[in-house]
């Protein structure tokens, strides 16, 4: 019996007021289980990124709730919400957002440092994760010296170093060529998806659909349908 990782119900989010009011989310309900790699797909402006932000505790919805293992995250105050993101969620941003003035290992160690772990211990632990993504040899280089695919892998290492149970990936292949993008997502599916982790991916890229366990189609802020896929669950 799969455990529910995220349960969202009645999510509404709009921007602006009066005539300028625009709905980004319109009554969205969804569930994502541990062991799942759920894709949110849809055209630009369909509300994918807004939904991802609401699910990950970054953007407060105007109504509705998001429960992570039974906890309504939007009932938490800002400090507890930050702590929730720090401990439970790993982010892979579309543009990576790596720190160019830090070494690759230091970039990966940031979530541990934010958890008040010792600097040296954090960078040492970061090396293990860099090893896991095949970049241990590049640990001392600044991220700018790495290729796009390597930077994406560094971003993934940073996202998982804190061992989060929910991994949020925003357009993970957008800045990569087809083969590299596919290789990255394949790596995530094979190595990071397990029965204690839920991975939510926002993407446009149909070439990586084969790794999804479920695909949620969005348009105009609404969830149009759910497509069960053949990919193996974690």
């Amino acid at each position: 019996m799969p455990r529910i990782a995220i349960k969202a119900s009645g999510l509404e989010k709009w921007f602006g007021e009066g005539e300028a009011k625009t709905f980004a989310l319109h009554g969205v309900d969804l569930e994502a289980d541990f062991g799942e790699m759920v894709y949110i797909v849809g055209p630009s402006g369909s509300g994918k990124t807004t939904l991802l932000s609401v699910l990950s505790g970054i953007l407060r919805p105007n109504s509705g709730s998001v429960q992570v293992e039974g906890t309504d995250i939007w009932s938490l105050d800002s400090d507890h919400l930050a702590e929730f993101r720090r401990n439970r969620i790993g982010f892979v941003f579309q543009d990576y957002h790596l720190f160019p003035r830090l070494s690759t290992a230091e970039n990966v160690a940031i979530p541990l440092i934010l958890k008040r772990k010792d600097w040296n211990q954090s960078t040492k632990e970061a090396l293990k994760y860099l090893d896991a993504v095949g970049l241990k040899a590049r640990a001392e280089l600044p991220p700018m010296k790495l290729s796009g695919g390597e930077q994406q892998r560094v971003a993934i290492a940073r996202a998982i170093v804190g061992q989060p149970d929910i991994l949020i990936m925003d357009e993970p292949t957008a800045s990569l060529d087809g083969d590299t993008g596919r290789a990255i997502v394949s790596f995530v599916h094979q190595n990071l998806l397990n029965e204690n982790r839920c991975i939510v991916v926002v993407t446009h890229d149909e070439r990586i659909y084969e790794f999804a366990t479920r695909i949620l189609h969005m348009e105009d802020g609404r969830l149009l349908g759910v497509e069960e896929c053949a990919a193996i669950r974690g």
Binding site: T49, T50, L52, S53, S56, I58, L59, S78, D79, A82, E83, F84, R85, R86, N87, I89, F91, F93, Q94, D95, H97, F99, R101, L102, E106, I110, P111, I113, L114, R116, K117, D118, W119, S122, D170
Partner: protein
């Protein structure tokens, strides 16, 4: 928190160009503020050189006197009247005036002549060569070996010169606590010889030096001297009066204030602008940190640490450069009028703290405004 501060430190110092620009701005501002205020304090200190060197407890003068150099002669009865005040232990006259000395090579050099009371020699300097009683010898003068000493061609005991067509003989070489401000060598002699050699108006007593019997007599002495139409002040009050003259009557104080403000504005402009650019360039990354789970208070600590670290480093460098420059200047010119004082250090530190505060306030506002959602939106 140590790890977060180390992260802030690395983000700051690893951006070498910006960090250097920040340091240059603060260091330059501190250097200017320190140097200007040190020079001014030095000038004020040297301006009261005669008061410090004579060392009398109380000074009686014409009420119109604004500074030690602008003495106004007082009639002899003032001395007698002061001596008759019950709280006065003793009172002696002092002459202070200017003269021209003709040197052996035929050139002329302006000097300050201090005439000490013939009986007590109150206010005499400490001799490093010669004997004090030789001041009573015919045409005897004591020369002060300060930074201006060379202008009299370094005379020694037995050297002769002409002062207003009178023969003068050096009978002693002295050292003093503080050199004069105006670049003139100083000669000490007896009061009687000073008024005899130097052309004077009708009244010849520049100041009356007073020793009160006890500190409690000071107020009464002041009151009784005021009743005579003159002014009695303590040594410290006279030093302050001299300082006030330079601060408020010569424009020096206004200039120093303007220069300090300019230094502050220059420092604030360079550092504030650079720090703001630094924050702007890292804004998305601060947003990413926020998304990852950094609390606002932690981000604020990071920015305050960066601003504080830069400010303190720049402050140290600025004070260091200022000290070095003054030290080098004093190697070349012993009486170079610059002094670093604790108030100057504190004022500069406060100014730097304000610069850091304003710079970080702007940065903190921007960082707190950024929404992690903006990072997702790109």
């Amino acid at each position: 928190m140590r790890g977060i501060l180390k992260l802030a430190y690395k983000l700051l110092v690893n951006d070498k160009a910006k960090f250097t620009a920040l340091l240059v701005g603060i260091t330059f501002a501190v250097f200017l503020m320190m140097f200007i205020s040190s020079m001014f304090v030095g000038v004020l200190n040297h301006a009261s050189a005669t008061v410090v060197n004579i060392g009398a407890s109380m000074w009686v003068m014409d009420p119109s006197v604004q500074a030690i150099t602008s003495s106004i002669g007082m009639p002899a009865y003032v001395l007698d009247a002061v001596r008759s005040i019950p709280g006065v232990e003793y009172a002696v006259p002092l002459y202070s005036g200017g003269a021209l000395v003709k040197l052996p090579d035929g050139t002329y050099q302006g000097v300050t002549v201090v005439g000490l009371d013939d009986t007590s020699l109150l206010g005499r300097p400490m001799l490093i060569e010669g004997k004090i009683e030789d001041i009573y010898a015919e045409n005897g003068f004591i020369v002060v070996a300060d930074a201006e000493y060379e202008k009299l061609e370094k005379p020694h005991v037995g050297s002769e010169f002409e002062l207003n067509d009178h023969r003068g003989v050096i009978v002693g070489v002295a050292k003093v606590t503080v050199s004069g401000l105006f670049g003139l060598p100083t000669l000490y002699t007896t009061y009687q010889r000073a008024v005899q050699y130097i052309p004077n108006p009708r009244f010849t007593i520049s100041y009356v030096l007073v020793q009160p019997k006890s500190p409690s007599d000071v107020a009464e002495i002041k009151r009784r001297v005021a009743a005579l139409g003159y002014l009695a002040v303590t040594k410290d009050e006279f030093i302050k009066k001299n300082a006030n003259f330079f601060v408020f009557q010569t424009g020096g104080g206004t200039n120093i204030l303007i220069m300090t403000l300019i230094s502050f504005i220059v420092g604030l402009s360079i550092s504030g602008q650079t720090f703001y650019t630094f924050i702007l360039e890292n804004l998305e990354r601060f947003g990413a940190l926020k998304a990852i789970g950094t609390r606002n208070s932690e981000l604020v600590s990071m920015i305050l640490f960066q601003a504080g670290f830069t400010a303190l480093t720049g402050y140290g460098l600025g004070v260091g450069f200022c000290t070095l420059l003054i030290y080098l200047a004093k190697l070349r010119l012993a009486s170079y009028a610059a002094m670093i004082t604790y108030p100057s250090l504190l004022v500069s530190l406060a100014m730097v703290a304000i610069i850091a505060g304003i710079s970080s306030y702007v940065g903190v506002r921007r960082v707190l405004q950024i929404e992690p959602f903006d990072i997702f939106r790109g």
